[in-house]
Symmetry: C2
Subunit: 427 residues, 2 copies
């Protein structure tokens, strides 16, 4: 199924698509050279927003769920990419310990874990599941809707290693975004490969650090293609000491929102875009959509504070990122859609549309809602079809998504290098 591409059939995005297709060998070589200097995250998913006039990543997830939403046709690609990743990191590996998110009976997430078990088993590893949830004291079977079961086991920590009963892995793959901080049981594992590294967890990571790196990547890439980086880069600002409950630090947020709206307005004017600019204010850490507000005027910050000061979701927010809002004009049937790109190692292995029938073009779609229906890209669409008119071909559109997804992945690589607490400093 090829989703409807109702994004503008003329305009900057199609120029971008044409330029990206024309430059394919140069782009792929540029990525090769970047990966000679930088290590890709083990796995990554990137949420994109396609405004027609602009295409930008809005969230880069280093603990991707949702692998179950890829089509079976994409599975061989994921397995092959996993083989390449393992071969580089730990070719001698026999056992992989997968540490999922705390399993709350979300069968979509269980299906994601089952898919990851399948990918890494087929890539040649014995995979078992160990949970951070200390309430689980014995091996526990969790049922999937189709009758299949996953066995989840309590972690066993020794002085130097982490494993399960009768299972000593050389590699530990975490699929829990560690929003609540770094668990003690994962610290100081110097004998085993821990993927991703602990400073990729949301207890440590900051969105602003990611977009700082992304801006650098976008500028380099834009230079390669001879284009304005703004076409792929969402502008951002940050405020470090905010307290919505006490209404303190809000002046920083307001002045950032104001400045951002001015910058966006200027860009819209430059490109003749007839849109009302908006910005998104969200917690600088954390993976959840909760707490995201969409603002069209700096005054709305004060109103939000008064309305929401006592809501649980803003209580812990002390740092915020103020980001240029990028509308999404892509639709699947009648629902607003956001493309999500999945990568293992440096390879795009698939993707899908996140759609949300009850949300608008300016809203975050990464929100709770029964109508959230992921839709896999049609098979093979990550490969371009040169010669087809820009905007008219799903494969070409998806190749472009794969390029922007990989730019965000590269930014995550820069980000993790810059924030590595164990990095040696050479200057």
């Amino acid at each position: 199924m090829v989703p409807h591409l109702i994004t503008a059939l003329t305009g900057p995005i199609n120029e971008l698509e044409a330029r990206i297709l024309d430059s394919m060998p140069a782009i792929e070589r540029w990525f090769r050279l970047e990966w000679m200097e930088h290590t890709p995250p083990f796995y990554t998913s990137v949420d994109l927003r396609n405004a027609g006039f602009k295409l930008a990543p809005v969230d880069t997830n280093l603990y991707p769920g949702g692998f179950n939403n890829l089509t079976p046709e994409m599975l061989p690609l994921a397995v092959q990419a996993a083989m390449a990743a393992i071969e580089k990191i730990c070719p001698e590996a026999k056992n992989l310990l997968l540490v999922p998110d705390n399993l709350t009976g979300n069968t979509f997430y269980l299906s994601n874990i089952r898919r990851l078990v399948q990918v890494f088993t087929q890539a040649g590893l014995n995979v078992r599941l160990g949970t951070l949830d200390e309430r689980i004291k014995a091996p526990t079977k969790l049922a999937l809707p189709d009758g299949d079961e996953l066995l989840i086991e309590p972690l066993l920590r020794s002085q130097r290693r982490l494993g399960l009963k009768d299972f000593d892995p050389c590699t530990i793959l975490v699929n829990n975004d560690l929003s609540d901080g770094t668990p003690q049981v994962l610290r100081n594992l110097h004998e085993q490969y821990l993927l991703p590294p602990l400073h990729a967890g949301w207890g440590v990571r900051r969105k602003s650090a990611h977009f700082h790196s992304y801006e650098e990547v976008a500028k380099k890439f834009a230079k390669l293609l001879g284009m304005d980086p703004w076409l792929i880069n969402p502008m951002y600002g940050q405020c470090g000491e905010v307290d919505f409950t006490q209404a303190s630090g809000l002046d920083c947020v307001q002045s950032n929102v104001d400045a951002m709206l001015t910058k966006v307005r200027r860009k819209y004017k430059e490109y003749g875009i007839n849109e009302k600019p908006f910005v998104v204010v969200k917690a600088d850490n954390g993976s959840h959509g909760a707490g995201i507000i969409t603002v069209r005027d700096a005054k709305e910050i004060a109103e939000f504070q008064q309305r929401c000061a006592h809501q649980a979701e803003v209580q812990d927010v002390t740092e915020v990122i103020i980001q240029e809002g990028v509308p999404t004009y892509e639709r699947v049937n009648d629902a607003v859609a956001e493309p999500v790109v999945y990568m293992i190692d440096r390879y795009v292995v698939g993707g899908f549309y996140r759609i949300h029938a009850e949300r608008g073009t300016h809203d975050s779609l990464s929100a709770p809602g029964a109508s959230f229906v992921p839709l896999a890209f049609a098979e093979s669409n990550q490969l371009p079809k040169p010669g087809v008119k820009p905007g008219a071909s799903a494969p070409n559109r998806f190749y472009m998504y794969g390029v922007i997804g990989r730019l965000a992945m590269l930014a995550a690589s820069y980000e993790l290098e810059a924030t590595d607490p164990d990095a040696e400093v050479y200057d």
Copy 2:
């Protein structure tokens, strides 16, 4: 389309299939460890014969044609594998010079070349075609049946480098099996990557050297799985000084045929196989099916010599390999079928059935014939489905084919190391 699997639904092959599936993580790890020590050929195709009681490679091609026979669904896998291969060999590469076989208007082969251009372009290289055919003095367009065209150009050789007009490649990929010997224009290119190396050409390579290496690989693999290597290994002998035109050296061939038939008979008895053994005698070099004879009795060698002494195809044969015949009992509809597995770098990227309606189960199918119809495996079938009854599942059968194909590729890697004229000797 899942081809009919009419191979016996019980017996050794299904035991082998079950054992291979059960041992999947161990097998994949074993390959990983082998690839730490050995370099895979850049690309490889392997012809297999499935007798129901035995599954064996019969030809390992280091200049594979037929990439056009893979389905479009397999293309992303090929591109990803090509990206991994390039990244390892020459990440900084911009330009790839592809040297095809001399183009004789065979549009199947032209489609193969187009597919290779597509794969390596999408992997991020500027690809152009340079021909060894010295009759081509200027850039020449060759038409494909669908109206597409390929531009083929004369090679330009300087003292140290090979290229085309205004095209200086860092990598040269040869898709011409060099049966007529090593062209001068390809010698002494020490500044560029020449793939595969010149000693992979059929002017230098010997089938007996390949099967010597394959025997070693098959024994290692059989030890890993605790099984008889004969189930995957075709026995062979060789004779080095044969002249069919003068009837000299035939005693060596006859005694080898006799000994081989005795060995095969013993194995058939051991496994209760109710078949008449046969052996195949063929030139020890060369890629073509021409000159292959199927023999059920050593006396047939003398008859063959008398009948064919003056045929052109035996004139140049001075070395022969005597190989255990492996019947193929796989059929697609009513035609006898041979699976062919395609690999780029260490990865299985697809495969198809070579079928030949006018040939029998004991004949070589790699023969000229209008009814030669390659048939792509169904998509994604290189991934196994654990838990399905052996013999009943196409994916599991094809996973097994991929494993045996990779064993033959590993043997080619051993073979190329052993025959490398530039190898440093450490003992």
